[in-house]
């Protein structure tokens, strides 16, 4: 009941804000996209693993949306999103089968290496991928409706909010499931997990595919809202941003990724406006300060309060 109220409140606030200040629409869509990707990173953080290459899934999905959109111009936006995400699921299954054999630094570095290969290939093969200029995505119909730019963005925002809520719910459910618990056990003690007869590789593989698909979903939506995909979408610094957001929000609860993403997007906007040209400096300093004072992120703060209240009662 309480979570239903919270959900409704969040939806009303986000959509209301976008209606009241139309310029907020795109930043909100983009930050929720970032949130979806960061949620994918949170899943991996649960297992104590970190990836500096997950932007490649956003990139794969974005390019699939662009390719399919060009090849079949009449295709519906929702179908494009589904196809884009599917591509990432498949890629995640394949790459995952290989990288789950590694842990910690090697895990992170392998993801990084594979994403760099993709980034380079996309930038080099100009004839197919448009090189570093990327590919344009024409605005498709959404559920059969042909929309102009403004209503399209509103519809996209509603769609992204709905998907985000579903993702939060789904990932929270996953964390509570036995598979999710086993995933968390990889961080605490992998050997014991194996002694219990659970294959750590298989558990991590499931988590990895989930995280890849979330990043892919984010990439499809991101590409549609921008109308453009570039290799930059898959550069390792972008992956770093996802990790940044995940840490900012905290790995305690799935909602953290979205809180972190919205905060991040607006911090970036204000930092860029305030000290033009050195927003990275501001963000880097904020990242370090957050890690120092709030190692569990913003949701860590919420959980601490909850525990305090619970202790008093």
């Amino acid at each position: 009941m309480r979570s239903l109220l919270l959900n409704t409140a969040a939806v009303v606030v986000i959509i209301g804000l976008a209606m009241a200040f139309p310029w907020l629409k795109l930043p909100l869509i983009l930050s929720l996209c970032y949130g979806l990707a960061a949620l994918g990173i949170v899943v991996l953080l649960k297992a104590g693993q970190i990836s500096f290459g997950h932007a490649m899934y956003a990139c794969i999905s974005g390019y699939v949306v662009a390719f399919v959109g060009h090849r079949f111009p009449g295709m519906d936006g929702v179908l494009l999103i589904a196809l884009g995400t599917l591509a990432s699921v498949v890629a995640g299954m394949l790459i995952g089968a290989f990288v789950v054999r590694y842990r910690e630094i090697f895990f992170g570095m392998l993801n990084l290496a594979i994403s760099m290969v993709l980034f380079t290939v996309l930038g080099k093969f100009y004839a197919v991928t448009g090189g570093t200029d990327g590919l344009r995505i024409n605005r498709p119909t959404l559920l059969g409706f042909e929309l102009t730019r403004d209503p399209f963005e509103i519809a996209l925002l509603v769609l992204v909010v709905a998907i985000s809520l579903a993702a939060i719910w789904g990932v929270q459910r996953y964390f509570l499931s036995s598979s999710g618990q086993a995933l968390a056990a990889i961080k605490t003690n992998e050997t014991r997990l194996e002694y219990l007869g659970v294959s750590a590789k298989k558990v991590l593989w499931k988590g990895y595919v989930l995280s890849a698909s979330l990043c892919g979903l984010s990439g499809s939506l991101f590409g549609l809202s921008q109308g453009l995909v570039t290799p930059e979408m898959g550069y390792w610094l972008r992956s770093g941003e996802f990790v940044f957001i995940a840490i900012l929000g905290g790995a305690g609860h799935a909602v953290g990724a979205f809180v972190g993403a919205i905060l991040y997007e607006f911090l970036k906007m204000y930092a860029a406006a305030l000290v033009s040209g050195s927003w990275q400096l501001v963000l880097g300093a904020i990242l370090i300060v957050i890690i120092y004072f709030l190692p569990k992120g913003i949701t860590g703060l919420m959980n601490r309060r909850k525990r305090l209240i619970g202790g008093a009662a």
């Binding site: 290969v117 120092y292 190692p295």
Partner: protein, 300 residues
């Protein structure tokens, strides 16, 4: 492939491998102390390059002597390494007992800060100070004219650093203390080694090596924003394929990656940038712990 191209590719590869080795070695050293890969290492490389170039512009103008130019390059690298290394070490010390992932992210934050600082100090215009290359002249090898700087100096410097470090680590008291602290900090402390001081020293040596890589690269590459980001990923690839903490391994892997990259430049230029990562993926497929690491027993 003609003989000339073969020789050119070999020489290019060796010179490139020399730089890669220096940077990757620094990364391995720092890993030995803090047990995390230092993402800000790319900034050390970039600052080393910019620092050495600025020093050269400031003091080296009009000088004819190659020795003076080399001295300026090395001095710049050492100064940058000591300053930035100390800053990073002090920063990371605040996070000593935290989750390694968080420590890694602290270096990522530091990298973001350094990246903008570099832009503020040196701007976005390319820097190019190539006096030392001209001063060293060229020589002819089997019919191919090549710059002495790249032919002799860079690989020579890398080899000199390699043998010097080998000697330092194996034959001096301080070097042995470094090995002890990297191997097991607790036991080393119990044996009466000042682990804090040794860790600081190791970290700074690593930082100086990273900066030295940048400084030696500066006369032959133009310095632009973003070189740090590219280099860090490459040196990660070297360190991960070689195995963490492997000095000889880093040398061989750097050579492997440097040579294959330069052959790619001449034979299949599209794959040039992909090559290091492909090698890394292939190596890790065959040997998950890196080429030269001895597999450790699992701790329960």
């Amino acid at each position: 492939m003609s003989r000339d191209i073969f020789i050119l590719a070999m020489l290019d590869g060796m010179s490139y491998a020399g730089l890669l080795f220096l940077v990757a070695l620094g990364l391995t050293f720092i890993f030995g102390v803090v047990r995390i890969l230092n993402v800000a290492h790319g900034s050390l490389y970039a600052f080393g390059g910019y620092g050495a170039a600025s020093l050269g512009l400031w003091l080296g103008q009009g000088s004819e002597s190659a020795v003076a130019s080399v001295l300026l390059l090395v001095t710049g690298a050492i100064a940058v390494g000591i300053v930035l290394g100390t800053v990073l070490m002090l920063l990371l010390r605040q996070f000593q007992d935290r989750d390694p992932i968080l420590q890694l992210l602290v270096t990522f934050g530091a990298f973001m800060i350094f990246e903008d600082l570099q832009r503020m100090i040196w701007g976005t215009q390319p820097y190019f100070v190539a006096d030392v290359v001209n001063q060293m002249g060229t020589s002819e090898l089997l019919g191919v004219v090549y710059m002495n700087y790249q032919l002799l100096f860079v690989p020579g410097a890398a080899l000199a650093v390699y043998f010097l470090l080998k000697w330092f680590l194996n034959s001096t008291l301080m070097g042995r203390q470094i090995i002890a602290v990297t191997h097991d900090r607790e036991v080393a402390t119990a044996l009466g080694i000042n682990a804090r001081r040794i860790a600081y020293l190791t970290f700074v040596v690593g930082a100086v090596l990273g900066a030295l890589g940048g400084a030696l690269a500066s006369p032959t590459t133009s310095l632009v924003p973003g070189i740090g980001a590219d280099m860090i990923v490459l040196s990660f690839a070297v360190v991960a394929s070689a195995g963490l903490g492997q000095i000889t391994g880093a040398l061989i892997t750097a050579l492997l990656i440097g040579l294959s990259r330069s052959f790619c430049v001449y034979l299949a230029p599209e794959f040039e940038v992909v090559m290091p990562y492909l090698i890394m993926v292939l190596v890790l497929l065959a040997r998950p712990q890196g080429l030269f690491t001895v597999v450790q027993a699992r701790k329960i």
